[in-house]
């Protein structure tokens, strides 16, 4: 079966790379799923979680990451996800995110609240 080669890169590091069969990401005009053989695509990502269904060497499984602002670009079965900030779900400190959410709610800081919310949802797996 054809595979996607996925690179998830943040501004200051490479977060994840490997083979995948499906990637679901949220663009400004809605969720989009990319499978091998998709038409070349370039889209703007919203803050949200990205789901990568992995195959190949990394084994079958699901990788979830929270991204804040970025792009998805796909060509020749190579998918790159660029984000200013990207965190894998198992890297996220839940307690810290919860604290940040509380704080953001108290300060009515919509952007910070959204960031914390996205992190938490990436961990719990709820969309």
């Amino acid at each position: 079966m054809a595979e996607l080669h996925v690179e998830l890169v943040a501004a200051d590091r490479k977060v994840w790379s490997g083979e995948a069969s499906l990637v679901v990401a949220r663009t400004t005009s809605g969720d989009i799923g990319v499978m091998p053989g998709h038409q070349p695509l370039l889209g703007v990502l919203e803050s949200g979680s990205i789901t990568i269904r992995t195959t190949g060497e990394s084994g079958t499984g699901t990788v979830v990451a929270a991204v804040h602002g970025g792009f998805i670009s796909f060509a020749d079965d190579k998918l790159s996800l660029l984000a200013e900030i990207a965190e894998l779900s198992d890297e996220i400190d839940v307690q810290r995110a919860e604290r940040a959410l509380e704080r953001a709610k108290a300060d009515t800081d919509a952007a910070a609240e959204r960031r914390a919310d996205v992190r938490l949802r990436a961990v719990t797996g709820a969309h």
Binding site: I32, L42, A75, S80, L82
Partner: protein, 309 residues
């Protein structure tokens, strides 16, 4: 101990103390270069992918965008100069400033008005001392810049590029920084970030596709080519600024290391010379003492020989 010897001993002591400091600074800088280099390498994938994406949009679509099209007669240009907060780095800061001055003169010669943006205390001090206007400046993060710092620096730049020329906007954006070539070589460079020049940006990420230019497929844009470009270009500027900041930081540490190494070597040399001089002075003291004793003894002998007679 003779007076001369004491003076030499004191100077040797003070040079040794200075040497200890420069040696420590050299080692600190050396450890920081490695860290800074690692950060430059870590930022590479993002920059490469972003450049690819920008190239893809700009070549794959025929949208006209203020950030990609060259103005026929550019009237105003922004120059971002990256220096460091601290000195003791040899010619690092003055070289970067010199490169920026050259660029400024060249642009002024082409009849453009130049707006200066400066990062780092040394650059700010340079402009401050000459009472030349600086649009904006940033200090305090040059040793280890974060992506947030790059965003803060880019924001006003992007804004002024987007603004109309008539309302004080700029047509071109240049960045002057010190490129980290190797531990021994760092070179100040001036790059034009905007408008994009594609022949250059396509060359850079060509690692796997050397020799054959990458043919980019026709992309599907989500939501539209214009919107994608709108969102992409600020990120592109930020990533270029970030890369420049990181390279400058690495270069600064390398320059510091080299400057401190030569300072340590000079201290060694000085200690050697002073030790020789101190030894000579000690020998002179001893010789003088002996000759004084011998002289005294023979004078006494002469005197007693005279009284016997």
């Amino acid at each position: 101990m003779g007076a001369q010897t004491r003076v030499y001993k004191r100077r040797i002591k003070s040079v040794t103390a200075t040497k200890k400091i420069t040696k420590a600074m050299e080692m600190i800088a050396a450890s920081r270069i490695v860290k800074a280099q690692r950060r430059v390498a870590a930022s590479e994938p993002y920059a490469t992918e972003l450049t690819r994406a920008v190239t893809a949009v700009a070549t794959g679509s025929n949208t006209k965008h203020s950030l990609t099209t060259e103005v026929e007669q550019p009237r105003r240009a922004a120059v971002l100069l990256i220096t460091s907060d601290r000195g003791l780095a040899g010619g690092y800061n003055s070289n970067a400033i010199k490169a920026s001055e050259q660029l400024t003169n060249r642009l002024a010669g082409e009849g453009k008005e130049i707006l200066h943006y400066v990062v780092g205390r040394k650059g700010v001090a340079y402009y401050g001392f000459r009472e030349r206007p600086v649009q904006e400046f940033w200090t305090g993060f040059t040793d280890s810049p974060s992506y947030g710092d790059a965003k803060a620096v880019s924001a006003p730049l992007i804004e002024s590029v987007k603004a109309d020329t008539a309302e004080g906007g700029v047509d071109e954006l240049y960045i002057v920084y010190t490129e980290f070539l190797s531990m021994m070589t760092q070179q100040p460079v001036d790059n034009r970030i905007l408008p994009l020049s594609f022949d250059k940006s396509t060359e850079e990420p060509a690692e796997g596709s050397k020799g054959k230019p990458e043919i980019l497929p026709l992309f599907d844009f989500e939501p539209s080519a214009d919107d994608v470009l709108d969102a992409l270009l600020p990120r592109y500027v930020e990533s270029r600024v970030y890369n420049a900041l990181l390279q400058s930081a690495a270069s600064k540490h390398a320059a510091t290391r080299r400057a401190m190494k030569s300072a340590t070597d000079n201290a060694d040399e000085l200690i050697k010379t002073l030790t020789r001089l101190a030894n000579a002075a000690r020998q002179a003291d001893i010789t003088q003492e002996i000759s004084e004793i011998v002289g005294g003894a023979s004078a006494l002998a002469d005197a007693s020989a005279g009284s016997d007679r």
